[in-house]
């Protein structure tokens, strides 16, 4: 089991009170899975993603990543886990504007302590698999959105992570670029990378092998709405378009 969550809750302080953003989330992801998580804005998707990605720590519940309980791990260990085990793709790319494509992609390898020459070589390879061999020395502001996201995916996979986490990877892209990104994800999954992806769009989510829905911090597996009783404010939610 790569990801195993049991009754995960996450509270954020709001003034003097606490707001529970995630409620008793249970999630199991096997190696090779390809999971899409859908949900309206503010439902806790990013919060969940941050917990899975070891960027944040749960308020209660148990979480094992690749069998390891990281509850009491220090910031150094967490950094190591993110560096070795995980790859991140963000909605707005987060490329460093001063670095060219190769240097952006090579960054995680630098923190992994890979020698400079090898870093460059592996970054070039990763960019090639993204179809960017003729854009290697371009800076982010010389690239289109779709190209930027492909550089970001190259950066996420250059360290050969077990788990790729993508938070609305196509959210900032037109549909043509978006489907190009999805083709890449399909291929990566076929080659063995486990993927957890957050998205708004049904068409994107449909590319995954499995879809889960989150609403008001509650994760469910079916397409149906989560039970109304458990939404405290009783707000009526639209089904996802």
């Amino acid at each position: 089991m790569l990801v195993e969550m049991k009754d995960i809750c996450k509270d954020y302080p709001q003034g003097k009170e606490k707001v529970r953003v995630l409620k008793d989330v249970c999630l199991q992801v096997e190696e090779g899975d390809y999971l899409a998580i859908m949900g309206p804005s503010g439902s806790g998707k990013t919060t969940l993603m941050n917990l899975i990605g070891c960027l944040d720590v749960q308020s209660s519940g148990e979480y094992y990543l690749d069998g390891e309980d990281l509850r009491n791990a220090g910031s150094n260990r967490l950094a190591e886990v993110r560096n070795r085990l995980l790859g991140f793709v963000f909605q707005s790319f987060y490329l460093l504007p001063k670095l060219n494509a190769i240097d952006n992609v090579a960054l995680p390898l630098m923190y992994a302590g890979v020698p400079k020459k090898e870093r460059r070589q592996r970054a070039e390879e990763a960019l090639k698999t993204m179809g960017l061999e003729d854009r290697m020395t371009f800076r982010p502001n010389q690239l289109s959105g779709g190209q930027c996201q492909r550089v970001a995916i190259a950066r996420a996979i250059v360290g050969k992570p077990k788990l790729l986490l993508a938070d609305e990877p196509t959210g900032a892209l037109d549909s043509a670029s978006g489907s190009q990104i999805m083709d890449i994800f399909d291929r990566l999954n076929t080659d063995g990378t486990t993927i957890i992806m957050i998205t708004h769009e049904q068409a994107i989510a449909d590319r995954a092998k499995q879809i889960k829905y989150i609403r008001d911090g509650i994760l469910s597996s079916g397409r149906e709405e989560p039970p109304q009783a458990e939404t405290p404010d009783g707000e009526e939610g639209e089904a996802h378009a």
Binding site: N50, G53, L55, D56, S75, N76, A79, E80, R82, N83, R84, F88, F90, Y94, L96, K98, L107, P108, M110, Y111, A112, K116, R155, G159
Partner: protein, 419 residues
């Protein structure tokens, strides 16, 4: 390490204007310190050169009674002070730092010296055959003393140029006779110091030691000394040290030797002692005086460095805020705190280090300009340049520390969320 430095350099050069303005305080501070230190060093070298004479590493070891040089003429022959014997010269030459030694008898303000009807009051020395070599005298006219002069106790004399000036003007003195203590002496030569010895006069003490040599000097072979003065007078010693830096040690070694071997314990209780007239020490005292005034200026320049450091801290804090996304991203993909800390510390140190180097260059330029237009001495000090560069890097590390810690402690989620 090398990589993070080149990365930091890249950062500095991509914000040229901002980097330069940030460095300005450091540049000004370091430049003023280098200028001041060059001034101090220049003055010190001038003092040393003036007082010691270029390349003439001679220390005189003189007989003192209490704190005054002992004057035979007024006080008579001292009791319990043994004259040196020729054989002791070799022993003295073997002492640490000693290159050569000479013994000589001397009289300051000696009287009863005449050329025809003109009286002369000045110095008379009874010298051995190494005196001229040790003291850098050269024979300008006539000849030096020969072995026969010494062996046959000939009544011959050599004058220095000043004495010639006083008694003969432009006339050639060689072959003329002078009278010393009613004994006729024949002038066989004229000697002059080869190095240009022009002492700086900074105190009454200096004035007297300068004035002493001013009237001019007569040199007799020491074999002729008993003809006019006493045969059992103790001598003074002039020591040529191996190098300028050996002067103090060589002088002290000789003075110690003399005190131990030539002065009886009763005489020593009466306050008789040999002291080395160490110009190097004198130079150091004068140098300290001039440095201490300038040291206060350095403190003022240090304030500029402090202000510069605070400017660096300010800009680094701004830079951390501007780059929260970058920091968040770096942490998300696996940068440990230490890496972020090092990155920002390196940037600060590279910034101030470059500032320091520019400051050093500006300081060198400034001191060259000042010494050219105001005709004051200046000398570039390599240790000061090294220290200034290291110190400015240190400023970067100190003032960059708070911003770097702040960056390293950023929470990656917060950093990525922030707009």
């Amino acid at each position: 390490m090398f990589e993070s430095i080149s990365q930091a350099l890249h950062g500095v050069f991509s914000h040229k204007m901002r980097s330069f303005l940030t460095m300005l305080g450091i540049i000004i501070g370091i430049a003023s310190i280098i200028t001041i230190i060059s001034g101090i060093k220049g003055t010190n070298e001038q003092i040393k050169a003036n007082l010691i004479g270029a390349g003439n590493n001679v220390v005189t070891v003189q007989l003192y009674q209490n704190d005054m040089p002992y004057e035979m003429m007024y006080s008579g022959n001292p009791v319990g002070v043994k004259p040196l014997e020729a054989g002791q010269r070799e022993e003295l030459r073997k002492l640490d730092g000693v290159d050569n030694v000479t013994f000589y008898h001397s009289r300051s303000y000696a009287e009863q010296i005449y050329y025809q009807n003109t009286a002369f009051t000045g110095n008379v020395f009874g010298i051995d055959d190494s005196y001229f070599a040790v003291n850098d005298y050269q024979i300008k006219q006539g000849r030096g003393f020969t072995a026969e002069d010494q062996a046959q106790n000939r009544k011959v004399v050599i004058l220095d140029e000043r004495a010639v000036q006083t008694l003969f003007g432009s006339e050639n003195p060689v072959g003329k006779a002078v009278e010393i203590m009613q004994e006729p002496f024949v002038i066989v030569g004229v000697a002059a110091r080869s190095s240009n010895f022009e002492p700086v006069i900074n105190s009454v003490d200096d004035y007297y030691s300068y004035a002493q040599t001013d009237a001019g000097s007569f040199f007799l072979p020491d074999s002729a000394w008993p003809i006019v003065y006493r045969f059992d007078e103790p001598q003074n010693v002039a020591v040529r040290a191996n190098s300028t830096d050996d002067m103090t040690n060589a002088g002290k070694a000789v003075a110690d030797y003399m005190n131990e071997n030539q002065i009886a314990s009763q005489a020593s209780k009466d306050g008789m002692s040999y002291r080395s007239n160490d110009l190097l020490k004198r130079a150091q005292q004068l140098q300290e005086l001039s440095s201490s005034t300038n040291n206060q200026l350095i403190w003022i320049a240090a304030i500029s460095l402090l202000v510069g450091g605070i400017g660096v801290m300010n800009i680094m804090l701004v830079s951390v805020t501007e780059r929260t996304h970058e920091i968040g991203l770096r942490k998300a993909i696996g940068a440990k705190r230490r890496r972020i800390l090092t990155q920002f510390l390196t940037e600060a140190a590279v910034l101030t280090g470059i500032g320091g180097i520019l400051g050093v260059l500006a300081g060198i330029g400034m001191s060259k300009l000042i010494s050219k237009f105001m005709d004051t001495p200046s000398a570039i000090s390599i240790p000061a340049i090294a220290a200034a560069t290291v110190f400015s890097i240190l400023i970067g590390l100190v003032f960059g520390f708070v911003p770097a810690v702040k960056a390293s402690k950023l929470n990656p989620i917060e950093a990525l969320r922030r707009e």
